[in-house]
Symmetry: C2
């Protein structure tokens, strides 16, 4: 469902070129549960942004569901994103002037869902991440881990076939993190694809497969023995 | 060096009152290394903001170095903050339009340090957190873990007698996290006080003492056996 070949992404800073992605080959089948790990700065978020159709590569190819994503225009990319992909950002990217509930509701507005159903589904997603008592708080009225959970709820509310989560538990205590991982398991058991970036070894062991990155390339790609 | 008694901090949301801090008694001696842990939303960041002189309590008292912080005016609080305290924010709070190097330099400008020395010290702090190759990047040109490390470098550059770090390793792989903790150890061995909020059990075990919070109160306060 996700196939990249020789993916490149470069940033020019004066005379230097930073190869954030330096030739990435990745193949993820429908229904797989993949963890992406690697040192700070190794290109994990850059990779997630490309496969999440939020950024275009400078080289190489990316096929999503058999379609060449690098040949899509912005409108087609936006439609694919909304219909197929749920994205949890490493830095949350919540609307600061809107309530938590409204933040979670927004993807359903883009999907064209009617208001009554949107609200019911957004409330349910907030309940699933343990934030039913925080519906009307704005992001700056929430703790770090609560903001992270709003970002998770927003990614899950469309029941995406592909969940891309960039370090979704970094601000959570272990009990709350386990609850969030159980939500991902639920989505996975329903046949959906999960790709998550994590620094937490236990979260990595929870996945079926661990892809390790180093300096913008895939360093290793291992199946977990217990899956 | 840090003493709180019956500390309260409340937020009013319509008819509800949220007791973010619900009577916190905490006593930290000079040179101690304390970890603060507890569930998401339990009041850890709120407590850190009060003891870091960034927020005033609604009730109770807070003494810093024998002085009643709640009786200081804004100018006195700002001076204490700059002279004594290094603060690593859970959400980094970097200046978006400035380079990483300039971000790290800013506390030294407030200290009245001359430019040549400021730059030397800021470059050294960036080197200590492994970011010597990222001096001229702005925050949006850095990975999540790199931004976190800039926030750490900024907190360490004044060699504070009290380091307050709110989840300083949440975005870091274990190798990089260990390097950051070694910097804190170095500051601690020089006789300074370290208070860090963490969700990472290993980081908690690294401290001399673990204070657990729950629902705005201190639930437990335990010395680590190995220290
Ligand atoms: N401005 C605000 N208005 C209303 N409630 C707030 C506000 N700021 C924080 N809160 C609430 O106060 C409680 C404590 O927040 P705090 O940020 O201290 O938690 P925390 O322990 O740091 O959590 P985390 O581990 O998720 O970072 C939370 O339940 C939060 O929703
Ligand atoms: N806009 C930019 N301009 C220049 N360099 C950039 C830019 N964005 C990212 N980089 C660099 O690209 C590299 C990869 O960044 P990326 O965010 O993908 O890392 P990461 O693996 O997600 O790291 P972390 O674990 O710290 O989140 C980093 O070294 C970073 O400094
Ligand atoms: Mg990242
Ligand atoms: Mg917090």
């Amino acid at each position: 469902v996700i196939l990249t070949r020789g993916l490149r992404r470069q940033y020019r800073m004066g005379d230097t070129v930073i190869n954030a992605l330096d030739g990435v080959d990745l193949s993820i089948r429908p229904g797989e549960y993949v963890a992406i790990m690697g040192p700070s700065g190794s290109g994990k978020s850059t990779l997630m942004n490309v496969i999440g159709c939020l950024d275009s590569p400078d080289g190489g190819e990316y096929w999503l569901n058999g379609q060449l994503a690098s040949s899509m225009n912005d409108r087609e990319l936006a439609r694919v994103r909304n219909r197929e992909i749920g994205f949890v950002f490493q830095t949350f990217n919540l609307l600061q002037r809107a309530t938590a509930l409204h933040n979670v509701e927004v993807p359903l507005i883009y999907s064209g869902i009617a208001r009554k159903e949107r609200l019911a589904r957004a409330v349910e997603a907030m309940r699933q991440v343990g934030l039913e008592s925080r519906l009307d708080h704005q992001p700056n009225e929430l703790s770090g881990g609560q903001r992270q959970r709003v970002a998770v709820a927003r990614a899950l509310v469309t029941r995406p076939s592909i969940l891309l989560a960039d370090e979704p538990t970094g601000n959570l205590d272990s009990t709350t993190a386990t609850e969030i991982l159980e939500l991902f398991d639920e989505l996975h058991r329903a046949g959906n694809t999960i790709v998550l970036v994590t620094h937490d070894r236990k979260v990595g062991e929870h996945a079926e497969r661990v892809v390790r990155m180093l300096d913008g390339r895939v360093q290793s790609d291992t199946r977990n023995s217990t899956s």
